[in-house]
Symmetry: C2
Subunit: 472 residues, 2 copies
C-alpha cells in the first residue's frame, strides 16, 4: 500500500469525512460565551469518541476555573491528551488543534445558519469549518485512511486538543507546563494546522505569528443607564469619554500612537526582505476581495509586512452601550471599549501592557473627566518565529509538493496562536504551522467556510507528511 | 357620590388595578425591535378590550408601513381612537398615551425579569410600569371608579393611544393630521401623562419639553467583518474612524462643539429665571441618586436648566461592532454610531440637521479616511412650551392640591414627547402634561418602576381633574 492508494481512499471516503465535519460544526462550542460553555464540553467528548474509535488512547486533563472581571467563575473545558503508538524506535510528532469556535449569529450577516454545515459550489460554510474543526478532523481522517489500508504510520503521534483557543487558550499553558516531563517529554516535532494559505491556490508553510495584547477600557459614570431626555445635559457621559480615547489610539492610517510601542519592533533584515519577493500575493485582488476602497499600502510586500511583521491595533467594539438597530435614547452608565494590539518580535507583552496603560492613563488625565476609569489587560501572547530551514520544514515541503505539485511558500501570519510558542519552549523542538484552508475562508467572520478540495487535500497532505517524517 | 367616595373606591380596588397593570407589563411591546412588533399589536388589542369594557367606543386607525434604512419594511401598529361621551353640552378632553416600551433585557442589569411586574417595598418594577403603561391604565381605572359609583363625568373624553412613541411616534402625526377636522375637531384641552415629577414627593405640572434630533453615523470599510489577526494592519478600520468622530461632538463637560448649534437657543428671560427659584430640587440628592462623582453644574437652578432649557448631546451606542462580554478579535466592517441632540426653543430640527450634517461632513473630510461615510438623520421633533397661566393648568393645580394637599411645581422636562406639539398645533388649544410617576422611576433604564402610591394617587388625581374640568 502506497501514498497513491491513500489518495484514492481519501477520495472514496469524501462523503463520510464531510459528514464527520458536519457533526462537529453542529456543536456550537463558542468559548467566549459562558452560556455556551457546556457546548464546548460536548465538543470535547464528541472528539474523544472519534479518537478512541481510531485506537487513540485519550484522557481529559482538568483545566480549573475561568474567573470573569465581575468575580463570577465557570469551569474551563478539559484538554484532550491523545496518544497513537508508543514505539520507542519511532520518533514522536505532536499535533495540536482546538475544538472551540468564535461567536456567530445568523443576524451578524451570515447567509446560512452558522452552526450548520452548508455545502455550496464546493465550499462548506459553517462556524469552525476552517477554524479549527476542519483541520482537527482532517487529522483523524488521515489516520483512519492509513489504518484502513494497513499503511504503517512511521511515527508515534500525540495529540493536544483544547477548547479555549478563541478565548486566549486560558489554562492551557499551565496544563502543558505541568506535563513537560511526562506527556510532552519525548516530542520531536510539533505540527499545528490553525492558519490559512496566503492565497487561494498555492499551499504554504508558516514560520511566524504575531502575538496579541487585548485590553478593556472601562469607564463608568452613574449607577445605572439613564434616559437621555431626563438626564442629558447634567452628567458626564462615559460613552463620549470612551470614544474620545478609542479615537486617539491610532492615526487614520492605522499608525499606533502609543508612545514607545514601535521601539522594540525587530528591524527588517535584508534576508527577510528577500523572502517576501517570491511570495505569490496580489495586493489588488486582496483589496477587491475585502471590498476596501484603499489599503494601508499599495505595495504587496509592504502589505504582507503590515499583516505579519509589524504591530497593528484594532478596536473591536464596546460593551455596555446600545448596539441594536433602531433608536434607543439611553445614556449608558458603564461602557467597556475592547481593543487589541497584534505584537511582533521583539515586543514583550509585559512591556506593551506598561506602555498601553501609561498611554491610556495619560489620555485620561488629559481628558479631565470626573468619571471612573479602569484598564483591564487580558493575558498577552508573545509573537513566534521559527527556523524554516529545519529538516522538519523540508519534510513538509516534500509532502505538499506530492499533493499539489508545487513547492509551498514560506510565510508568516498576522493572527495569534499563542500556544505555538509554548510548544516550542516546552518541547525545545521545531514547531511548524501547516495550514490547509485558503485565504478567503473568513475565520472569525461571517460565512466562514472550508473548500471541499482543501479539506480533502489537507487529509492527503497529512498522510504524505507522516510518511515523510518516517524518513527523518 | 363625591370625590371622597371615589378616593375610597380607588383604594378598595388597589389589587385589581395592580393586576391590570401586571397584564400590560407582561406584553413586551418593544417598538424598536422589529421581532417584537407583533407584541405591540397584541398590546393595542389588549388595551382596546379594556376600554370597550368601560363603554369607550374604540376604533383602530391603520398607520401604514415602517421602512428601515436597509429597505425592508414592516407594518406600523394601529392607533386607538377612543370616545367616551358625546354630549354636545359638555366640553371635550383629549387624553394621549402610548402602549409601546423601550427595549429591556435581564442581562442589561435588571434585578428582576423586565417583562414581569414585581412588587417590592411599595414599588412595582417592570418595563413600561411608569413609561407609559401605568399612566394609561390609571386613566382607565379612574373612569372605572367614576362609572362604578355613578359619578357623572362632566366632560366628554377622547383617547389617542399609540404604539410607536419610543420609536419617534412614526406615522402618528399623519394619522392625527388626517383626522384634524373629524375626530380632533372639537377638543378643548389635551392632557398627557408621559413624564415624571422633578422630585419624589411633590407633584408637578409640566409646561415645556425638549425636542430631539437623532442621528446614525454610518462608516463602512470592507465587505464583511474581518479577523484582526489576519487583516489587522492592512485596512482602515471604520470603528476607529467612528470613535474619532463621536469623541469630538462635545467637550468633556458636555458642551456641544457643533458650530452654530447654540445660536438659536432662546435667551433666558428674568421671568423664566425667577420660576426656577421656587422649584423643590436638591442637586446633591440628585447627584447621589445617580451615583455620579460630579455633575455639569453644582447650582441646582443651572442643573435644571441644563436638563430642560438647554440642548444636550448624548452618544447612545454603536451598531455593528462587538458588544458582548469577553474578547472577540474582529474588525467590524460597518458600524453605525447613534447619537441624539435634545433641542429647545427656538431650535428648528431642519436647521439642526443642516448644522449637524455640515459638522460631521467637515470632521469626515478632516479625517481623510478612504472608508464610506453616511449620516442618517431620523425624523426630528421640535421642543414645546405652553402657557402655564391657562385656566386648564389652574384646574389641574386644584385637582393635585386635593390629592396631595400642596400646590404642584410648574416644571419643564428634558425628554421629548414630540406629539405634544402636534396636539397643540392641531387642536389649537392648551396642552398640559400631568405626570404621575416620580423622578426615580428610571424610565428607559434598568429596573424601571412605578410606586404603588403614585399609581393610586395618579388615579385619584385623574378623577379630581375630570371633576375640576367640569367647572371650567
Amino acid at each position: 500500500m502506497s501514498y497513491e492508494d491513500a489518495v484514492r481512499e481519501v477520495d472514496k471516503r469524501q462523503t463520510k469525512f464531510i459528514e464527520r465535519l458536519r457533526e462537529a460544526v453542529e456543536i456550537p462550542s463558542v468559548s467566549a460565551e459562558a452560556a455556551r460553555r457546556n457546548e464546548v464540553f460536548r465538543m470535547v467528548d464528541w472528539t474523544q469518541k472519534q479518537m478512541e474509535a481510531l485506537n487513540i488512547k485519550c484522557h481529559q486533563v482538568e483545566n480549573g476555573m475561568q474567573t470573569f472581571p465581575d468575580g463570577s467563575a465557570i469551569k474551563l473545558p478539559p484538554v484532550i491528551f491523545g496518544q497513537l503508538g508508543e514505539n520507542k524506535q519511532k520518533k514522536t510528532l505532536l499535533v495540536y488543534g482546538h475544538l472551540d469556535v468564535q461567536p456567530a449569529d445568523l443576524s451578524d450577516g451570515w447567509n446560512t445558519e452558522p452552526f450548520q454545515l452548508v455545502e455550496k459550489d464546493g465550499k462548506m460554510f459553517g462556524r469552525g469549518s476552517t477554524d479549527d474543526k476542519g483541520p482537527v478532523i482532517a487529522w483523524l481522517n488521515a489516520i483512519e485512511v492509513m489504518q484502513s489500508l494497513g499503511i504503517e504510520i512511521p511515527v508515534n503521534i500525540k495529540f493536544v486538543f483544547e477548547g479555549m483557543e478563541e478565548s486566549g487558550s486560558e489554562g492551557l499553558e499551565q496544563v502543558l507546563q505541568a506535563h513537560k516531563s511526562t506527556f510532552l517529554a519525548d516530542i520531536d516535532w510539533t505540527c499545528i494546522s490553525d492558519n490559512y494559505w496566503v492565497g487561494k491556490k498555492k499551499p504554504c508553510i508558516t514560520y511566524g505569528l504575531r502575538g496579541i495584547c487585548y485590553y478593556g477600557v472601562e469607564i463608568s459614570g452613574t449607577k445605572q443607564d439613564l434616559h437621555s431626555g431626563s438626564f442629558g445635559g447634567t452628567v458626564h457621559e462615559p460613552m463620549i469619554d470612551l470614544c474620545w480615547i478609542l479615537g486617539q489610539l491610532t492615526d487614520v492610517n492605522g499608525k499606533i500612537l502609543i508612545e514607545g510601542l514601535n521601539d522594540s519592533v525587530a528591524p527588517l533584515s535584508d534576508e527577510e526582505k528577500e523572502l517576501y519577493k517570491t511570495i505569490d500575493f496580489n495586493a489588488n485582488a486582496y483589496k477587491n476581495e475585502l471590498g476596501a476602497e484603499k489599503l494601508t499600502s499599495e505595495c504587496p510586500q509592504q502589505l504582507l509586512m503590515n499583516r505579519w511583521r509589524y504591530p497593528a491595533l484594532s478596536v473591536h467594539g464596546i460593551e455596555g452601550a446600545f448596539y441594536g438597530p433602531g433608536a434607543k435614547t439611553v445614556i449608558p452608565a458603564k461602557v467597556i471599549g475592547k481593543f487589541s494590539i497584534r505584537i511582533v518580535p521583539n515586543m514583550e507583552p509585559s512591556e506593551v501592557h506598561t506602555l498601553v496603560t501609561n498611554h491610556l492613563n495619560k489620555l485620561w488625565s488629559q481628558r479631565g473627566s470626573p468619571n471612573k476609569f479602569k484598564v483591564n489587560a487580558h493575558q498577552g501572547a508573545k509573537a513566534w518565529v521559527a527556523d524554516f530551514k529545519h529538516p522538519h520544514y523540508q519534510a513538509a515541503t516534500r509532502a505538499l509538493k506530492k499533493v499539489h505539485g508545487i513547492d509551498p511558500d514560506f510565510t508568516r501570519e498576522g493572527g495569534s496562536i499563542p500556544i505555538t510558542l509554548t510548544f516550542q519552549d516546552i518541547t525545545e523542538k521545531n514547531v511548524m504551522l501547516l495550514p490547509i484552508g485558503a485565504c478567503d475562508d473568513m475565520a472569525h467572520s461571517q460565512n466562514e467556510k472550508l473548500d471541499v478540495s482543501n479539506y480533502m487535500n489537507g487529509i492527503k497532505a497529512f498522510v504524505a507528511y507522516l510518511l515523510e517524517l518516517g524518513q527523518l
